[in-house]
Symmetry: C2
């Protein structure tokens, strides 16, 4: 029986995992597909480099043309990263009628719809399960398992690095910088952690999730992003005291056909299923009109977990090849994009700031909130060490982003407000 | 465009949900399938009964032949329950080339492989996502999302009634009988709760999960079952004190090609993801060789959640119809069934018993354990109110089921052992 031929672009952490799974699980894969899988060519930068997996040296190439233009290759697996050049190579592969499986979230968040159109035109499959939440089959669950439902909200812990850092900060009471160093030593954070800690990585994944979940082309620029670098131990102490867990949460929500998508540090009620997702784990919480609350939990990164998603995508491509139905499962977005304006984005907020400790200060402050019709769920006033200052912590009832930002601007102009220390979105109810 | 015609067997809680979702989400369904869906006939017992949904009276029938033998019907959705008669009707429908979607776990656990073979022979689809864990797309995740991995362990909270009862007992410190009454009043438990509280419902779901996850035909009789009716408040207090949560857990495990499947009250380490699955929610924890730990969480029952799974299955059937590939996704089990013998089933155990408070008693008891090479992780001895008795609580290190049952038998014969109060399987590590 003629094997199905795979070209692998990249042999780093994830690429090595793909090789391992295809080798180790050949029997199971064969049972499902009915034909063996053969890795035919592997693109590498350096032919001589030591590899985590043993691979026949004749399979290696430094020339991408040997894969994307090879008549022998049926499916291209892209695990090398990169955006513009990679996009052009994959377009070339699709035009050469090669199916594509990719783990590249940057590429899919920026150029996903263009690539999917080209795949469809060429009768090719293009799958990218591994691009969001590593080993968790979340994209397939949205597209197949929950296909009959109207999804109204998705909340994701979709970046393992930041979840590791926030978990350690909460549990150990350590400072951000110290935990970041620990994460870097353990390999959970990169030497340049910007993309993770500033929320950009999570934003890309949320753009992909929102596009699929709401069947609407959401661009990366539509995602409002705030990172975790300014979170302090004091914020975490208040979170705990009030019955919340601090998480970097991607939120995608639709109401009256209008969408909001954001990534931001969020105080999440302790009872929420996402609150117990710790360390480097990822999870995506999905709320559907009919199904209610569901959650998908698992490893968000790593060689073998990510490779599991890739090879599972490959299995679907290969089953489709056997049935002759490649390219038929791509569904274009159903709706035109409509984004919520800031006055339509509603949420509760946590706010911490320092004021000079004088008579009438609190009255001035509460007046600013009540002018905009924003009431408090909780308010705490505590002395701080610096003399003459008080710390005020407020959890608001639901308010619009526009009103909240207006309040922040007014507070900053108030002479009695010494410094706004932090503000976070709040989801759910903490302790009463 | 000609609509796709559905015959619905049953219009109870779940059947009404199916009607609602097909009506309310018609636009989304149409976008995915390209053809409208029409409910053509609905089997009911009583034509005059008031319904939760409004339905054209001419669509109702009390004669199943109007559906399973009707040349107009493309797909049969079975939500009426029943085993032997229902099986014969569905076989008839499949032979008439009708695709089948069912929520019937009893039927699938007992006759799933026979029905799937008949479906395959007739080029028909047979899907049953709703039969396990209601709205959670767990079967599809096992078959597609994790298809490339070797699954080694599944643990499920797959019965909402018992999870509701155990959650309330733990949180309120109430007795089993009281909470059962509360659950019955709230509609979470049936008037005759036997199938739920004795673990039979969960056993059916575990047989289905194990069959799919291990690609091996596991029969209902292969599942060792123990219910929750004898769990006491005292057991729950000890569980909490030792750092565990008591859950009714279905475990399916494979090692060296041999399988064990059981449903039993289990002390689960508090840090385990399943420990925070509360109330009537369900979750299935899946351990794969490559992917590691994943968990799928959501509603295990209810009209609309269960109907979501059914209509999502229907979407796949209809997509397959459009592509002409029905019946091609059924994969027969890959392996011959091999079950573990009791000496191969390894676990930690919790054991609580009363002894007469005399010199040398503990020495006799520990001798029984050490003869079989079973050591203790924890041992507590406490006085009890009845005079002259002590309560002993032991958590063992890993031991075989054979040894543990042997120890229980020997303890019962020991004159100083007054009564064995309870014993449970233990998963993971509690407090140190």
């Amino acid at each position: 029986m003629e094997p199905i031929a795979i070209g692998l672009l990249g042999l780093g952490t994830v690429g090595s995992g793909v090789v391992q799974i295809i080798e180790n699980h050949q029997e199971k894969l064969m049972h499902q597909i009915g034909r063996p899988i053969q890795i035919k060519k592997v693109l590498v930068k350096d032919l001589k480099k030591e590899r985590a997996v043993t691979i026949e040296p004749t399979l290696l190439t430094t020339n991408i043309e040997d894969i994307i233009n090879s008549p022998e290759i049926d499916v291209v697996i892209e695990v090398m990263g990169g955006i513009e050049e990679t996009k052009n190579s994959l377009i070339q592969a699709l035009k050469n009628k090669k199916h594509v499986v990719t783990a590249n979230k940057d590429l899919m968040a920026l150029h996903g719809s263009e690539l999917l159109s080209i795949a469809m035109e060429n009768g090719c499959d293009l799958f990218y399960e591994a691009s969001v939440a590593g080993g968790i089959p979340i994209l397939r669950s949205l597209v197949d398992g929950l296909s009959s439902d109207h999804i109204t909200k998705m909340m994701g812990i979709v970046n393992g690095t930041t979840n590791f850092i926030l978990t350690k900060m909460s549990k150990q009471g350590s400072a951000y910088e110290d935990v970041l160093k620990e994460a870097q030593q353990l390999g959970y954070a990169e030497a340049d952690p910007t993309s993770d800690v500033e929320g950009l990585d999570a934003a890309r994944k949320m753009a992909i999730l929102a596009t699929l979940g709401f069947s609407m082309k959401i661009d990366l620029d539509d995602v409002k992003v705030q990172g975790i670098t300014t979170i302090t131990e004091r914020d975490l102490q208040y979170a705990k005291q009030l019955g919340y867990t601090m998480k970097l949460i991607g939120i995608a929500q639709i109401e009256d056909d209008k969408v909001e998508v954001s990534v931001q540090p969020t105080l999440l009620a302790e009872a929420h299923p996402l609150s117990s997702v710790n360390d480097e784990y990822n999870a995506v919480y999905v709320y559907g009109e009919a199904v209610g609350e569901t959650m998908f939990y698992g490893p968000g990164a790593g060689s073998l977990p990510t490779a599991t998603s890739i090879v599972s995508d490959l299995v679907v491509v290969l089953k489709n090849m056997v049935l002759g139905v490649n390219g038929k499962s791509i569904i274009s977005p159903q709706y035109e994009k409509k984004l919520k304006a800031p006055h339509e984005i509603l949420s509760k907020y946590f706010l911490r700031f320092h004021v000079t400790d004088k008579v009438g200060v609190l009255a001035n402050i509460t007046a600013i909130f009540s002018e905009r019709g924003v009431s408090f769920e909780k308010i705490l006033q505590l002395p701080v060490k610096e003399k003459g200052l008080s710390e005020i912590v407020i959890v608001t009832h639901s308010t619009s982003l526009e009103d909240f930002e207006g309040i922040l601007a007014q507070l900053e102009m108030l002479p009695s407000v010494h410094e706004i220390k932090s503000s976070y979105r709040v989801e759910g109810n903490g302790h009463s």
